[in-house]
Protein backbone atom coordinates (compact mmCIF):
# COMPACT_ATOMS: atom_id res chain seq x y z
CA UNK A 1 0.00 0.00 0.00
CA UNK A 2 2.76 2.41 1.02
CA UNK A 3 4.70 1.92 -2.17
CA UNK A 4 1.51 2.47 -4.21
CA UNK A 5 0.80 5.69 -2.32
CA UNK A 6 4.39 6.83 -2.80
CA UNK A 7 4.19 5.99 -6.50
CA UNK A 8 0.96 7.95 -6.93
CA UNK A 9 2.45 10.87 -5.00
CA UNK A 10 5.51 10.84 -7.26
CA UNK A 11 3.27 10.71 -10.33
CA UNK A 12 1.31 13.67 -9.00
CA UNK A 13 4.50 15.68 -8.35
CA UNK A 14 5.80 14.88 -11.83
CA UNK A 15 2.51 15.67 -13.58
CA UNK A 16 2.12 19.07 -11.86
CA UNK A 17 4.46 20.55 -14.46
CA UNK A 18 1.93 19.82 -17.20
CA UNK A 19 -0.63 22.14 -15.70
CA UNK A 20 -0.78 25.83 -16.56
CA UNK A 21 0.39 28.02 -13.61
CA UNK A 22 -3.16 29.18 -12.83
CA UNK A 23 -4.19 25.56 -12.24
CA UNK A 24 -1.03 24.37 -10.55
CA UNK A 25 -1.93 26.01 -7.24
CA UNK A 26 -5.07 23.87 -7.06
CA UNK A 27 -2.94 20.78 -7.30
CA UNK A 28 -0.70 22.20 -4.56
CA UNK A 29 -3.85 22.72 -2.48
CA UNK A 30 -4.85 19.10 -2.96
CA UNK A 31 -1.30 18.00 -2.24
CA UNK A 32 -1.19 20.07 0.98
CA UNK A 33 -4.27 18.30 2.29
CA UNK A 34 -2.99 14.79 1.59
CA UNK A 35 -1.34 14.56 5.02
CA UNK A 36 -4.71 15.21 6.67
CA UNK A 37 -6.28 12.22 4.96
CA UNK A 38 -5.94 8.95 6.90
CA UNK A 39 -3.18 6.77 5.53
CA UNK A 40 -4.13 3.76 3.43
CA UNK A 41 -6.74 3.50 0.71
CA UNK A 42 -8.27 6.89 1.57
CA UNK A 43 -5.00 8.74 1.06
CA UNK A 44 -4.30 6.76 -2.09
CA UNK A 45 -7.75 7.68 -3.43
CA UNK A 46 -7.13 11.33 -2.52
CA UNK A 47 -3.84 11.40 -4.43
CA UNK A 48 -5.36 9.48 -7.35
CA UNK A 49 -8.00 12.20 -7.50
CA UNK A 50 -5.13 14.67 -7.93
CA UNK A 51 -3.83 12.69 -10.92
CA UNK A 52 -7.35 12.73 -12.36
CA UNK A 53 -7.49 16.49 -11.80
CA UNK A 54 -4.20 16.92 -13.66
CA UNK A 55 -5.36 14.83 -16.60
CA UNK A 56 -8.60 16.78 -16.76
CA UNK A 57 -7.20 20.28 -16.36
CA UNK A 58 -4.21 19.76 -18.62
CA UNK A 59 -6.59 18.35 -21.27
CA UNK A 60 -4.13 15.50 -21.64
CA UNK A 61 -6.67 13.49 -23.55
CA UNK A 62 -6.38 16.00 -26.36
CA UNK A 63 -2.85 17.21 -25.88
CA UNK A 64 -1.31 13.76 -25.70
CA UNK A 65 -4.03 11.47 -27.07
CA UNK A 66 -4.20 12.83 -30.62
CA UNK A 67 -0.42 13.08 -31.20
CA UNK A 68 0.05 9.63 -29.65
CA UNK A 69 -2.65 8.09 -31.83
CA UNK A 70 -1.16 9.79 -34.90
CA UNK A 71 2.34 8.57 -34.01
CA UNK A 72 1.10 4.99 -33.58
CA UNK A 73 -0.84 5.08 -36.86
CA UNK A 74 2.12 6.63 -38.73
CA UNK A 75 4.50 4.05 -37.24
CA UNK A 76 2.13 1.27 -38.34
CA UNK A 77 1.99 2.59 -41.91
CA UNK A 78 5.78 3.07 -41.99
CA UNK A 79 6.36 -0.45 -40.66
CA UNK A 80 4.05 -1.84 -43.33
CA UNK A 81 5.66 0.11 -46.17
CA UNK A 82 9.29 -0.07 -45.12
CA UNK A 83 10.15 -3.74 -45.41
CA UNK A 84 11.64 -4.97 -48.66
CA UNK A 85 14.86 -4.83 -50.64
CA UNK A 86 16.13 -1.23 -50.81
CA UNK A 87 16.98 -1.55 -54.50
CA UNK A 88 13.38 -2.26 -55.47
CA UNK A 89 11.85 0.84 -57.05
CA UNK A 90 8.45 0.12 -55.45
CA UNK A 91 10.02 0.08 -51.99
CA UNK A 92 11.80 3.36 -52.68
CA UNK A 93 8.50 4.93 -53.79
CA UNK A 94 6.76 3.53 -50.71
CA UNK A 95 9.34 4.97 -48.36
CA UNK A 96 9.21 8.37 -50.02
CA UNK A 97 5.42 8.29 -49.81
CA UNK A 98 5.37 7.43 -46.12
CA UNK A 99 8.00 9.98 -45.09
CA UNK A 100 6.36 12.74 -47.15
CA UNK A 101 2.81 12.05 -46.00
CA UNK A 102 3.77 11.79 -42.32
CA UNK A 103 5.71 15.07 -42.64
CA UNK A 104 2.74 16.72 -44.37
CA UNK A 105 0.30 15.50 -41.72
CA UNK A 106 2.59 16.61 -38.90
CA UNK A 107 3.69 20.02 -40.22
CA UNK A 108 0.61 21.30 -42.05
CA UNK A 109 -1.54 21.76 -38.90
CA UNK A 110 1.01 24.29 -37.66
CA UNK A 111 1.06 26.14 -40.98
CA UNK A 112 -2.73 26.20 -41.37
CA UNK A 113 -3.16 26.86 -37.63
CA UNK A 114 -1.33 30.18 -37.96
CA UNK A 115 -3.82 31.42 -40.52
CA UNK A 116 -7.02 29.71 -39.38
CA UNK A 117 -6.44 28.86 -35.73
CA UNK A 118 -6.61 25.47 -33.99
CA UNK A 119 -9.31 22.89 -34.54
CA UNK A 120 -12.82 24.13 -33.81
CA UNK A 121 -14.33 23.07 -30.51
CA UNK A 122 -17.25 21.31 -32.16
CA UNK A 123 -17.29 17.51 -32.08
CA UNK A 124 -18.16 17.44 -35.79
CA UNK A 125 -15.02 19.38 -36.72
CA UNK A 126 -12.83 17.03 -34.68
CA UNK A 127 -14.53 14.02 -36.22
CA UNK A 128 -14.03 15.30 -39.78
CA UNK A 129 -10.37 16.17 -39.08
CA UNK A 130 -9.64 12.79 -37.49
CA UNK A 131 -11.46 10.93 -40.27
CA UNK A 132 -9.50 12.91 -42.87
CA UNK A 133 -6.20 11.94 -41.27
CA UNK A 134 -7.23 8.28 -40.94
CA UNK A 135 -8.33 8.17 -44.60
CA UNK A 136 -5.13 9.75 -45.91
CA UNK A 137 -3.01 7.32 -43.88
CA UNK A 138 -5.18 4.43 -45.07
CA UNK A 139 -4.71 5.59 -48.66
CA UNK A 140 -0.93 5.54 -48.26
CA UNK A 141 -1.13 2.13 -46.62
CA UNK A 142 -3.12 0.54 -49.45
CA UNK A 143 -1.12 2.38 -52.10
CA UNK A 144 2.12 0.95 -50.75
CA UNK A 145 0.52 -2.50 -50.71
CA UNK A 146 -0.43 -2.14 -54.37
CA UNK A 147 3.02 -0.85 -55.33
CA UNK A 148 4.44 -4.18 -54.13
CA UNK A 149 2.33 -6.20 -56.56
CA UNK A 150 2.39 -3.68 -59.40
CA UNK A 151 4.58 -4.24 -62.40
CA UNK A 152 7.88 -2.38 -62.29
CA UNK A 153 8.10 0.77 -64.43
CA UNK A 154 10.21 0.53 -67.60
CA UNK A 155 13.86 0.58 -66.67
CA UNK A 156 14.74 3.71 -68.61
CA UNK A 157 14.81 7.46 -68.06
CA UNK A 158 11.33 8.07 -69.45
CA UNK A 159 9.82 5.41 -67.20
CA UNK A 160 11.55 6.77 -64.10
CA UNK A 161 10.55 10.35 -64.87
CA UNK A 162 6.93 9.32 -65.41
CA UNK A 163 6.88 7.39 -62.14
CA UNK A 164 8.36 10.20 -60.09
CA UNK A 165 6.22 12.90 -61.71
CA UNK A 166 3.21 10.77 -60.75
CA UNK A 167 4.51 10.60 -57.18
CA UNK A 168 5.06 14.35 -56.98
CA UNK A 169 1.54 14.99 -58.29
CA UNK A 170 0.13 12.46 -55.82
CA UNK A 171 1.91 14.13 -52.89
CA UNK A 172 0.84 17.61 -54.06
CA UNK A 173 -2.78 16.44 -54.30
CA UNK A 174 -2.58 14.90 -50.83
CA UNK A 175 -1.14 18.16 -49.47
CA UNK A 176 -4.13 20.03 -50.91
CA UNK A 177 -6.55 17.50 -49.39
CA UNK A 178 -4.97 17.77 -45.94
CA UNK A 179 -4.87 21.58 -46.18
CA UNK A 180 -8.58 21.70 -47.06
CA UNK A 181 -9.47 19.36 -44.16
CA UNK A 182 -7.43 21.45 -41.72
CA UNK A 183 -8.73 24.82 -42.95
CA UNK A 184 -12.38 23.76 -43.03
CA UNK A 185 -12.27 22.28 -39.52
CA UNK A 186 -10.33 25.17 -37.96
CA UNK A 187 -11.75 27.71 -35.56
CA UNK A 188 -11.72 30.45 -38.22
CA UNK A 189 -13.00 28.19 -40.97
CA UNK A 190 -14.26 29.90 -44.13
CA UNK A 191 -17.10 27.35 -44.20
CA UNK A 192 -20.30 28.10 -42.31
CA UNK A 193 -21.33 25.60 -39.61
CA UNK A 194 -22.97 22.67 -41.33
CA UNK A 195 -21.37 23.16 -44.75
CA UNK A 196 -18.48 20.77 -44.10
CA UNK A 197 -20.76 18.21 -42.42
CA UNK A 198 -23.26 18.25 -45.29
CA UNK A 199 -20.51 17.94 -47.92
CA UNK A 200 -18.60 15.21 -46.08
CA UNK A 201 -21.66 13.08 -45.34
CA UNK A 202 -22.89 13.35 -48.94
CA UNK A 203 -19.43 12.56 -50.28
CA UNK A 204 -19.08 9.51 -48.04
CA UNK A 205 -22.40 8.13 -49.29
CA UNK A 206 -21.41 8.74 -52.93
CA UNK A 207 -17.99 7.17 -52.37
CA UNK A 208 -19.43 3.97 -50.92
CA UNK A 209 -22.05 3.80 -53.70
CA UNK A 210 -19.48 4.22 -56.49
CA UNK A 211 -17.22 1.63 -54.87
CA UNK A 212 -20.05 -0.86 -54.72
CA UNK A 213 -20.79 -0.33 -58.39
CA UNK A 214 -17.17 -0.76 -59.46
CA UNK A 215 -15.00 -2.15 -56.69
CA UNK A 216 -11.97 -2.48 -58.94
CA UNK A 217 -12.22 0.92 -60.52
CA UNK A 218 -13.98 -0.02 -63.74
CA UNK A 219 -17.44 -1.36 -64.63
CA UNK A 220 -18.08 -5.03 -64.03
CA UNK A 221 -19.16 -7.43 -66.73
CA UNK A 222 -21.88 -9.98 -66.16
CA UNK A 223 -22.38 -12.92 -68.49
CA UNK A 224 -26.10 -13.34 -67.82
CA UNK A 225 -28.42 -10.88 -69.59
CA UNK A 226 -30.69 -10.26 -66.60
CA UNK A 227 -27.88 -9.39 -64.12
CA UNK A 228 -26.19 -7.32 -66.82
CA UNK A 229 -29.33 -5.23 -67.41
CA UNK A 230 -29.84 -4.77 -63.71
CA UNK A 231 -26.24 -3.69 -63.30
CA UNK A 232 -26.46 -1.26 -66.23
CA UNK A 233 -29.57 0.30 -64.69
CA UNK A 234 -27.80 0.58 -61.33
CA UNK A 235 -24.81 2.18 -63.05
CA UNK A 236 -27.02 4.75 -64.79
CA UNK A 237 -28.75 5.56 -61.51
CA UNK A 238 -25.38 5.71 -59.73
CA UNK A 239 -23.94 8.18 -62.25
CA UNK A 240 -27.05 10.34 -61.92
CA UNK A 241 -26.83 10.29 -58.12
CA UNK A 242 -23.09 11.00 -58.18
CA UNK A 243 -23.72 14.08 -60.35
CA UNK A 244 -26.68 15.24 -58.27
CA UNK A 245 -24.85 14.80 -54.94
CA UNK A 246 -22.61 17.91 -55.05
CA UNK A 247 -25.51 19.95 -56.44
CA UNK A 248 -27.76 18.85 -53.59
CA UNK A 249 -25.02 19.40 -51.00
CA UNK A 250 -24.30 22.86 -52.42
CA UNK A 251 -27.99 23.77 -52.45
CA UNK A 252 -28.61 22.60 -48.88
CA UNK A 253 -25.42 24.20 -47.54
CA UNK A 254 -26.15 27.53 -49.26
CA UNK A 255 -29.72 27.66 -47.95
CA UNK A 256 -28.66 26.62 -44.48
CA UNK A 257 -25.82 29.13 -44.32
CA UNK A 258 -28.07 31.94 -45.55
CA UNK A 259 -30.32 31.24 -42.55
CA UNK A 260 -27.60 30.78 -39.91
CA UNK A 261 -25.04 33.32 -41.19
CA UNK A 262 -26.69 35.78 -43.61
CA UNK A 263 -23.32 37.41 -44.42
CA UNK A 264 -21.99 34.18 -45.96
CA UNK A 265 -22.00 34.04 -49.75
CA UNK A 266 -24.30 31.20 -50.93
CA UNK A 267 -22.15 30.55 -53.99
CA UNK A 268 -19.03 30.23 -51.83
CA UNK A 269 -20.74 27.97 -49.30
CA UNK A 270 -22.16 25.84 -52.13
CA UNK A 271 -18.70 25.56 -53.68
CA UNK A 272 -17.19 24.50 -50.37
CA UNK A 273 -19.92 21.89 -49.78
CA UNK A 274 -19.41 20.58 -53.33
CA UNK A 275 -15.64 20.49 -52.81
CA UNK A 276 -16.10 18.48 -49.60
CA UNK A 277 -18.47 16.11 -51.42
CA UNK A 278 -16.08 15.53 -54.30
CA UNK A 279 -12.99 15.23 -52.12
CA UNK A 280 -14.60 12.82 -49.63
CA UNK A 281 -16.05 10.66 -52.39
CA UNK A 282 -12.70 10.53 -54.22
CA UNK A 283 -10.80 9.60 -51.06
CA UNK A 284 -13.24 6.84 -50.13
CA UNK A 285 -13.32 5.43 -53.66
CA UNK A 286 -9.52 5.50 -53.85
CA UNK A 287 -9.03 3.84 -50.45
CA UNK A 288 -11.66 1.11 -50.85
CA UNK A 289 -10.85 0.26 -54.46
CA UNK A 290 -7.11 0.25 -53.90
CA UNK A 291 -7.57 -1.90 -50.80
CA UNK A 292 -9.58 -4.35 -52.92
CA UNK A 293 -6.89 -4.38 -55.59
CA UNK A 294 -4.17 -4.81 -52.97
CA UNK A 295 -5.90 -7.84 -51.49
CA UNK A 296 -6.69 -9.36 -54.89
CA UNK A 297 -3.49 -11.30 -55.59
CA UNK A 298 -3.52 -12.83 -52.12
CA UNK A 299 -7.20 -13.63 -51.65
CA UNK A 300 -8.36 -16.76 -53.46
CA UNK A 301 -12.09 -16.08 -53.12
CA UNK A 302 -11.72 -12.52 -54.37
CA UNK A 303 -9.51 -13.69 -57.23
CA UNK A 304 -12.07 -16.28 -58.31
CA UNK A 305 -14.79 -13.66 -58.05
CA UNK A 306 -12.75 -11.17 -60.08
CA UNK A 307 -11.93 -13.76 -62.71
CA UNK A 308 -15.63 -14.55 -63.07
CA UNK A 309 -16.81 -10.94 -63.20
CA UNK A 310 -14.13 -9.19 -65.18
CA UNK A 311 -13.25 -12.09 -67.41
CA UNK A 312 -14.36 -10.31 -70.57
CA UNK A 313 -11.83 -7.57 -69.93
CA UNK A 314 -8.90 -9.91 -69.83
CA UNK A 315 -8.26 -10.24 -73.56
CA UNK A 316 -8.02 -6.47 -73.94
CA UNK A 317 -5.58 -6.16 -71.09
CA UNK A 318 -3.62 -9.18 -72.16
CA UNK A 319 -2.63 -7.39 -75.38
CA UNK A 320 -0.56 -5.04 -73.27
CA UNK A 321 1.43 -7.65 -71.42
CA UNK A 322 2.11 -11.33 -71.70
CA UNK A 323 0.31 -13.55 -69.23
CA UNK A 324 2.55 -15.90 -67.29
CA UNK A 325 -0.17 -17.25 -65.08
CA UNK A 326 -3.17 -16.10 -63.12
CA UNK A 327 -1.07 -14.60 -60.31
CA UNK A 328 1.16 -12.43 -62.45
CA UNK A 329 -1.78 -11.44 -64.61
CA UNK A 330 -3.83 -10.14 -61.69
CA UNK A 331 -0.73 -8.48 -60.33
CA UNK A 332 -0.36 -6.64 -63.59
CA UNK A 333 -3.97 -5.49 -63.53
CA UNK A 334 -3.57 -4.34 -59.96
CA UNK A 335 -0.58 -2.26 -60.91
CA UNK A 336 -2.31 -0.57 -63.78
CA UNK A 337 -5.60 0.10 -62.12
CA UNK A 338 -3.97 1.62 -59.07
CA UNK A 339 -2.59 5.09 -58.95
CA UNK A 340 -0.61 5.38 -62.13
CA UNK A 341 -3.57 7.00 -63.81
CA UNK A 342 -7.01 6.03 -62.57
CA UNK A 343 -7.28 7.07 -58.94
CA UNK A 344 -4.96 10.02 -59.23
CA UNK A 345 -7.29 11.40 -61.90
CA UNK A 346 -10.28 10.72 -59.63
CA UNK A 347 -8.53 12.44 -56.72
CA UNK A 348 -7.74 15.43 -58.93
CA UNK A 349 -10.96 15.89 -60.84
CA UNK A 350 -13.66 14.84 -58.37
CA UNK A 351 -13.15 17.80 -55.95
CA UNK A 352 -12.93 20.24 -58.87
CA UNK A 353 -16.13 18.92 -60.42
CA UNK A 354 -17.83 18.93 -57.02
CA UNK A 355 -16.70 22.51 -56.38
CA UNK A 356 -18.04 23.75 -59.73
CA UNK A 357 -21.38 21.93 -59.37
CA UNK A 358 -21.74 23.03 -55.74
CA UNK A 359 -20.93 26.65 -56.63
CA UNK A 360 -23.58 26.58 -59.35
CA UNK A 361 -26.12 25.16 -56.92
CA UNK A 362 -25.18 27.78 -54.34
CA UNK A 363 -25.53 30.54 -56.92
CA UNK A 364 -28.97 29.21 -57.88
CA UNK A 365 -29.99 29.03 -54.21
CA UNK A 366 -28.80 32.58 -53.63
CA UNK A 367 -30.38 34.13 -56.71
CA UNK A 368 -33.50 36.19 -55.90
CA UNK A 369 -35.84 34.04 -58.00
CA UNK A 370 -34.93 30.82 -56.18
CA UNK A 371 -34.35 31.96 -52.62
CA UNK A 372 -37.01 30.97 -50.13
CA UNK A 373 -39.20 33.78 -48.81
CA UNK A 374 -37.83 35.04 -45.49
CA UNK A 375 -40.03 34.80 -42.45
CA UNK A 376 -41.00 38.13 -40.94
CA UNK A 377 -38.60 38.89 -38.11
CA UNK A 378 -40.13 38.74 -34.70
CA UNK A 379 -38.96 40.87 -31.79
CA UNK A 380 -36.64 38.10 -30.64
CA UNK A 381 -34.88 36.18 -33.37
CA UNK A 382 -34.47 32.49 -32.62
CA UNK A 383 -30.93 31.32 -31.99
CA UNK A 384 -29.14 29.13 -34.53
CA UNK A 385 -29.42 26.03 -32.42
CA UNK A 386 -33.04 26.47 -31.35
CA UNK A 387 -35.66 24.15 -32.76
CA UNK A 388 -37.92 25.52 -35.47
CA UNK A 389 -41.23 26.83 -34.31
CA UNK A 390 -43.34 25.03 -36.90
Amino acid sequence: MNWLTRLTAALLRWSAGMLPPSRRLWLCALWAEADEVPAGWLRLAWLAGGVRLTVREAALGRRLGYPLAFAIAAAGVAWSAWSGPPGDSAIVINRVDVISIVAILAVLPRVIGRARGPVAGRLRARLVRTSGYVTVLALVLVKTAVERVADAPPNNLEGSVRTWVGEVVFLAVMTCYVAVVLAYTARRSPAAPGTVGIGTATGAAVGVMVYMLGPLGFPLRFTGSWPARLYDAAMALGVLLALCAPVTAGLVAARRSSRSTPAASPTRQGAMAGLCTGATAALIIAVLSTATIASLPHDTVLRVWATAHIGQWMPAVSQLAPIYGPHSYIGYMAGNSAFAAGYLVVLLLSPLAGCILGAWAGWVAGSPGHSRPQRPRSAQAPSAGSPSSS
Binding site: L30, W31, E33, E36, A45, G49, G50, L53
Partner: protein, 114 residues
Protein backbone atom coordinates in the same frame (compact mmCIF):
# COMPACT_ATOMS: atom_id res chain seq x y z
CA UNK B 1 -41.84 19.29 -14.86
CA UNK B 2 -39.37 21.34 -12.79
CA UNK B 3 -36.55 23.39 -14.27
CA UNK B 4 -33.20 21.67 -14.32
CA UNK B 5 -30.61 23.46 -12.21
CA UNK B 6 -27.60 24.95 -13.97
CA UNK B 7 -25.42 23.17 -11.41
CA UNK B 8 -24.67 19.47 -11.15
CA UNK B 9 -25.60 17.53 -8.03
CA UNK B 10 -21.95 17.52 -6.93
CA UNK B 11 -21.71 21.30 -7.34
CA UNK B 12 -24.95 21.75 -5.42
CA UNK B 13 -23.52 19.60 -2.62
CA UNK B 14 -20.41 21.81 -2.43
CA UNK B 15 -22.53 24.98 -2.54
CA UNK B 16 -24.78 23.63 0.23
CA UNK B 17 -21.76 22.80 2.37
CA UNK B 18 -20.19 26.23 1.88
CA UNK B 19 -23.60 27.88 2.34
CA UNK B 20 -24.01 26.28 5.79
CA UNK B 21 -21.27 28.51 7.24
CA UNK B 22 -20.79 31.23 4.64
CA UNK B 23 -18.44 33.44 6.65
CA UNK B 24 -16.06 30.65 7.61
CA UNK B 25 -13.05 29.61 5.55
CA UNK B 26 -13.21 25.89 4.74
CA UNK B 27 -10.47 23.56 3.57
CA UNK B 28 -10.76 20.98 0.76
CA UNK B 29 -10.56 17.82 2.85
CA UNK B 30 -13.25 19.15 5.21
CA UNK B 31 -15.60 19.81 2.29
CA UNK B 32 -14.80 16.40 0.82
CA UNK B 33 -15.56 14.73 4.15
CA UNK B 34 -18.87 16.58 4.54
CA UNK B 35 -20.07 16.06 0.99
CA UNK B 36 -18.63 12.60 0.42
CA UNK B 37 -17.00 13.76 -2.83
CA UNK B 38 -13.68 12.39 -4.02
CA UNK B 39 -10.81 14.84 -4.49
CA UNK B 40 -10.87 14.30 -8.27
CA UNK B 41 -14.49 15.50 -8.32
CA UNK B 42 -14.31 18.18 -5.62
CA UNK B 43 -11.38 20.19 -6.92
CA UNK B 44 -12.69 20.62 -10.50
CA UNK B 45 -15.97 21.84 -8.93
CA UNK B 46 -14.07 24.33 -6.76
CA UNK B 47 -12.02 25.47 -9.77
CA UNK B 48 -15.15 26.15 -11.86
CA UNK B 49 -16.82 27.99 -8.97
CA UNK B 50 -13.70 30.10 -8.42
CA UNK B 51 -13.47 30.83 -12.17
CA UNK B 52 -17.04 32.14 -12.06
CA UNK B 53 -16.28 34.30 -9.05
CA UNK B 54 -18.66 32.38 -6.78
CA UNK B 55 -15.92 31.07 -4.51
CA UNK B 56 -12.86 32.90 -3.19
CA UNK B 57 -9.72 31.07 -2.16
CA UNK B 58 -6.61 31.89 -0.17
CA UNK B 59 -3.74 30.16 1.59
CA UNK B 60 -3.59 30.01 5.36
CA UNK B 61 -1.84 33.15 6.60
CA UNK B 62 0.45 31.50 9.12
CA UNK B 63 2.53 28.39 8.77
CA UNK B 64 1.06 25.78 11.13
CA UNK B 65 3.38 23.33 12.86
CA UNK B 66 3.57 19.79 11.65
CA UNK B 67 1.61 20.24 8.40
CA UNK B 68 1.73 22.34 5.26
CA UNK B 69 -0.42 25.45 4.86
CA UNK B 70 -3.92 24.75 3.60
CA UNK B 71 -5.82 26.33 0.76
CA UNK B 72 -9.08 27.77 2.10
CA UNK B 73 -12.39 28.47 0.43
CA UNK B 74 -15.59 30.37 1.07
CA UNK B 75 -18.46 31.80 -0.95
CA UNK B 76 -18.25 35.35 -2.27
CA UNK B 77 -21.32 37.57 -1.72
CA UNK B 78 -22.33 36.86 -5.31
CA UNK B 79 -21.66 33.15 -4.73
CA UNK B 80 -23.85 33.18 -1.64
CA UNK B 81 -26.74 34.73 -3.57
CA UNK B 82 -26.35 32.31 -6.46
CA UNK B 83 -25.99 29.32 -4.11
CA UNK B 84 -29.07 30.28 -2.08
CA UNK B 85 -31.14 30.65 -5.26
CA UNK B 86 -29.82 27.40 -6.77
CA UNK B 87 -30.43 25.41 -3.59
CA UNK B 88 -33.95 26.84 -3.23
CA UNK B 89 -34.68 25.93 -6.85
CA UNK B 90 -33.29 22.44 -6.33
CA UNK B 91 -35.44 21.95 -3.24
CA UNK B 92 -38.58 23.15 -5.03
CA UNK B 93 -37.81 20.86 -7.97
CA UNK B 94 -37.38 17.95 -5.57
CA UNK B 95 -40.73 18.78 -3.94
CA UNK B 96 -42.47 19.06 -7.31
CA UNK B 97 -41.06 15.75 -8.47
CA UNK B 98 -41.90 14.06 -5.17
CA UNK B 99 -45.49 15.33 -5.22
CA UNK B 100 -45.81 14.36 -8.89
CA UNK B 101 -44.61 10.85 -8.14
CA UNK B 102 -46.92 10.55 -5.09
CA UNK B 103 -49.83 11.90 -7.18
CA UNK B 104 -48.96 9.48 -9.95
CA UNK B 105 -48.92 6.56 -7.52
CA UNK B 106 -52.26 7.65 -6.03
CA UNK B 107 -53.84 7.98 -9.49
CA UNK B 108 -52.49 4.57 -10.47
CA UNK B 109 -53.83 3.07 -7.24
CA UNK B 110 -57.23 4.68 -7.89
CA UNK B 111 -57.29 3.28 -11.42
CA UNK B 112 -56.47 -0.25 -10.25
CA UNK B 113 -58.88 -0.12 -7.28
CA UNK B 114 -62.08 -2.21 -7.81
Amino acid sequence: MGHRSEFSLQTLAVLADLCATPSQWRHGYGIARDTGLKSGTLYPVLIRLADRGLVEACWEAEQPTGRPRRHLYRLTPQGLAVATAALAQARSTDRTQASASVGGRRRAAARTAP
